[in-house]
């Protein structure tokens, strides 16, 4: 099977239809049977004057990370595209509009800036679109068509996605867009030097088309929650979690549920706790600043042993931080945030499929272990799109996780009974004979506030034993290696794991004995598994998108000596190449 691994970027100014073109490209490539991962950059401010860049990595094998290099750049606005030039691979191809509406001074065309080894293809996007449809509006699609034509991609998948997007707006609109696209294809096929085109040809689709769907991390989370039987959502707008709320706002009512945009994050988590207390699954999604507001009620949930599901979509911090940049710096807050010994469950998916799976899982975990469960994602994971086989939750994964009291206990019920597992069966309002009051005060087994020394010791021990017991059901660390004894073990979490895996695979190809360990249960963590992996490694490298090395702080002590930290807070996804360089430096 021919190897395909191409990164395509479309770059333009807001208003150029950059993001729309990127979405159509992703849809078409997915339909054509390729595997892809895509991630867009938008202007941060609402007025949105600024650069838009779509990035799509497309290939035959499963994509686990983005590349640092771009192989194809489609420039819808040369001035904006200049910023992408440093990332062009040596053999890259750049498409640009060689008939701009007016003359430009030296240096304002991208042609002035590309290195000679770049293939520069000038295509009159605007003129072609105008000829085909009477307006230059479709020039973004013409540019896409030029790319498709130059790379010998079939037009059908593109036509399908264009129709799917524009048919709701009417046949005329759909047709105009198809014409714009076709104009680009035709020009590329007829006018571009065949010798160049020949070199660029992608093989036709090489994978069987299955039921793959383009899904972002956020959408996977929303779908997971719905499939798990979510009935109530309480949330507050915050980047990058808002799309979850907006999607559920539309779909929940259709399924008989309800969504309330609350007045703040505090009331959001309050309502989620109230809902679970009363026996109904609820969820809230937020980011760092919102998580910090929720802290008090989260620790209340821990003490009062009330379930909750909280999605923390991490972004640049601290405080308001960098709302549209990716980071993994809420680990400390999620695991330790809040006064007292308030251990709770924290899990972190590493890709879109896991976003779905872990969201589904979190409801059962929350119910069974009667605790808030925090699912940590990050801006990159939330907003990136992968084409995944449509996930489906099995019935046993979404069934009621609550442990109910034995009916025989009616009238003698002790809500916080110290059991062997630490899980005290809980009743739900409506159950006769099992009335109780929860409280954030330390309490007896019956739930009466109590400050006696022995009681606090025992209840603390019970609560922690309960959480530790969840280890048996939490996803275990997964190793990716080919050798028993490794020179470098890379341990990573969240979206950074994909980059780590890619780096490790490249290192292996270079003959380095490297391996990767994926950690998705942040707390409690599987200390024995992790230690077992570490013992087989000469060095341990922990790359993270945070400054303080938060995972390293958590598990670093399990290693016999100092772990090697690799910290990065540039706001961009962790480049695999940087991890690879570090691996190499550790073995020389």
């Amino acid at each position: 099977m021919p190897h395909v691994d191409l990164t395509i970027e479309i770059c333009g100014m807001s208003g150029d239809g950059t993001i729309a073109a990127g979405a159509l490209l992703n849809g078409a490539l997915s339909r054509a049977g390729f595997s892809l991962m895509a991630f867009d950059s938008y202007p941060a401010e609402i007025r949105g004057f600024g650069r838009c860049v779509t990035r799509t990595r497309v290939g035959v094998e499963e994509m686990v990370a983005l590349t640092s290099e771009t192989h194809v750049l489609i420039s819808l606005d040369d001035e904006q595209s200049l910023s992408r030039i440093p990332f062009l691979a040596r053999s890259a191809t750049v498409f640009f509009d060689n008939r701009p509406p007016s003359y430009v001074p030296e240096g304002q065309s991208i042609a002035a800036h590309v290195e000679p080894h770049i293939t520069l293809l000038g295509i009159p996007f605007g003129n072609l679109a105008a000829e085909a449809t009477g307006t230059t509006r479709g020039r973004n699609l013409t540019a896409l068509g030029a790319f498709a034509g130059a790379f010998d991609l079939p037009s059908e998948p593109f036509h399908e996605v264009i129709r799917k997007k524009f048919d709701p707006k009417g046949e005329k609109v759909a047709q105009a867009n198809i014409k714009s696209f076709d104009a680009g294809v035709q020009y590329a096929r007829e006018k571009l030097d065949p010798s160049i085109r020949g070199i660029l040809s992608l093989p036709q689709k090489t994978m069987e088309k299955d039921d793959r769907e383009l899904l972002s991390g956020n959408m996977a989370i929303a779908r997971g929650a719905l499939d798990a039987g979510l009935k109530l959502y309480f949330g507050y707008p915050i980047t990058p979690a808002t799309p979850i709320m907006e999607y559920l706002a539309k779909v929940l009512p259709e399924r008989g549920g309800r969504l309330l945009q609350m007045e703040d994050e505090i009331s959001s988590i309050g309502a989620v706790l109230g809902s679970f207390y009363a026996g109904s699954r609820a969820m809230t999604a937020t980011s760092g600043p919102g998580l910090s507001l929720m802290t008090e009620l989260i620790t209340h949930g821990v003490m009062a042993e009330i379930p909750a599901v909280i999605i923390d979509a991490q972004r640049g911090g601290p405080a308001t931080g960098l709302p549209t940049k990716s980071e993994q710096s809420d680990l400390h807050a999620a695991v330790f945030g809040g006064p007292g010994d308030s251990a709770r469950i924290v899990i972190a998916p590493t890709n879109v499929s896991e976003c779905y799976e872990y969201t589904v899982k979190s409801f059962q975990l929350a119910e069974k272990y009667q605790t808030p469960v925090i699912v940590l994602t990050d801006f990159f994971l939330d907003n990136r799109v992968e084409n995944v086989s449509m996930p489906h939750a099995a019935p046993e994964e979404i069934s009621d996780g609550n442990v109910y009291p034995d009916p025989a206990l009616k009238g003698h019920y002790r809500r916080f009974e110290r059991t062997e597992s630490g899980i005290s069966p809980r009743s739900i309002p409506g159950m006769e004979g099992f009335i109780f009051t929860t409280t954030g005060l330390e309490h007896t087994e019956k739930g009466i506030p109590d400050y006696a020394p022995q009681n606090h010791m025992q209840m603390s021990e019970k609560r922690h034993r309960k959480i530790t017991g969840a280890l048996a059901e939490l996803p275990v660390p997964k190793e990716f290696s080919q050798k028993e004894s490794l020179d470098v073990g890379v341990i990573a979490w969240g979206s950074t794991f994909g980059s780590a895996l890619e780096a490790v695979r490249k290192a292996e190809k270079k003959g380095i004995r490297a391996g990767a360990l994926k950690i998705t249960s942040i707390f409690p963590y599987h200390a024995d598994s992790i230690r077992g992996f570490m013992e087989r490694c000469g060095e341990i490298l922990i790359p993270e998108l945070n400054y303080e090395g938060q995972l390293a702080n958590l598990i670093g002590h399990l290693f016999g000596k100092e772990v090697t930290r690799l910290n990065r807070v540039t706001g961009e996804p962790f480049p695999a190449s940087i991890i690879l360089k570090k691996i190499e430096s550790l073995v020389t």
Binding site: E263, S267, G279, P429, G430, F436, T438, G440
Partner: protein, 267 residues
């Protein structure tokens, strides 16, 4: 002939065998003797009994403070949550299971201070929760600091020179937030509380109860039993509870007229 002791014993036995106390939990209230909250407690309990609300289908949600202790003393499901957040939690409970009768209780510090930001929103959402705001104009549990409803010049350990802020008017606030049922009551008249709460429970929507009380331990100057008995009086018979403007005017001009000030007609 029955001795007085015997008569008393019979009365007690009768009461014990009735289900009047069934609403009370086994925990004795921790309020100070003479606290106005006993009156509110009695008023609410009687309302629940009168409506024959199943105790296991009743949920009381509270914040932090003396008033917040309420759920422990009631034989209902209870949620003693954190300071100021009873209303959102109550929202979650009610939406999760609309068959439950949900009460939210809290003091003036809990409700008008830290929790003040939640009242407008549960009111505008008109969630079917009954909220009792026990207003004794002081932070009692933490031993006597001024609260958002304390009068200007109120002297406490935390305000030795007297407070400088103007007090909030909880009834007026609730009305301006769009609450669809607003009543103002007094802990010294449990029966009136019972009557009003019965109506509030039956009202399909958010019902707000602003209930004046004393703090016998820490407030010897403002809301004492003597003062309150002197100040309070019933709403005039001409008061039209369906007229919002009139209700707001009433709340603004007269802080101690008691009764159901406003009740929105449901279509």
């Amino acid at each position: 002939m029955k001795t007085s002791g015997r008569i008393l014993a019979e009365k007690v036995s009768k009461i014990k065998n009735s289900d009047v106390f069934s609403i009370r939990s086994h925990n004795l209230p921790t309020w100070c003797p003479g606290c106005g909250y006993f009156g509110i407690h009695q008023g609410l309990n009687n309302a629940i009994q009168r409506l024959e609300l199943p105790h296991h289908k009743t949920v009381t949600v509270s914040g932090i403070g003396c008033a917040g202790r309420y759920p422990f003393f009631a034989n209902t499901y209870g949620l003693h949550t954190v300071h100021g957040r009873a209303l959102p939690v109550a929202t979650g409970v009610k939406l999760a299971n609309p068959d439950l009768t949900v009460f939210a209780v809290g003091g003036d510090g809990d409700g008008l201070g830290i929790g003040g930001g939640h009242i407008p929103h549960i009111a505008r959402r008109d969630i079917d929760v009954t909220y009792l705001l026990f207003d004794n104009s002081i932070y009692g549990l933490t031993k006597g600091q001024p609260s958002p409803s304390s009068p200007t010049g109120f002297k406490t350990k935390a305000s030795p020179y007297g407070t400088t802020e103007a007090p909030l008017n909880a009834t007026l606030m609730a009305l301006s937030y769009g609450a669809t049922f607003v009543a103002r009551l007094f802990a010294g008249d449990p029966d009136a509380i019972t009557d009003a709460i019965v109506e509030g429970i039956q009202h399909k929507g958010f019902s707000f109860f602003h209930i004046y009380s004393t703090c016998v331990t820490f407030d010897k100057q403002f809301k004492t039993w003597d003062h309150l008995h002197e100040w309070v009086h019933p709403l005039s018979d001409e008061h039209d509870p369906t007229n919002l403007k009139q209700a707001m005017n009433e709340a603004l001009e007269d802080h101690f007229s008691l009764g159901i000030l406003y009740r929105r007609q449901k279509e």
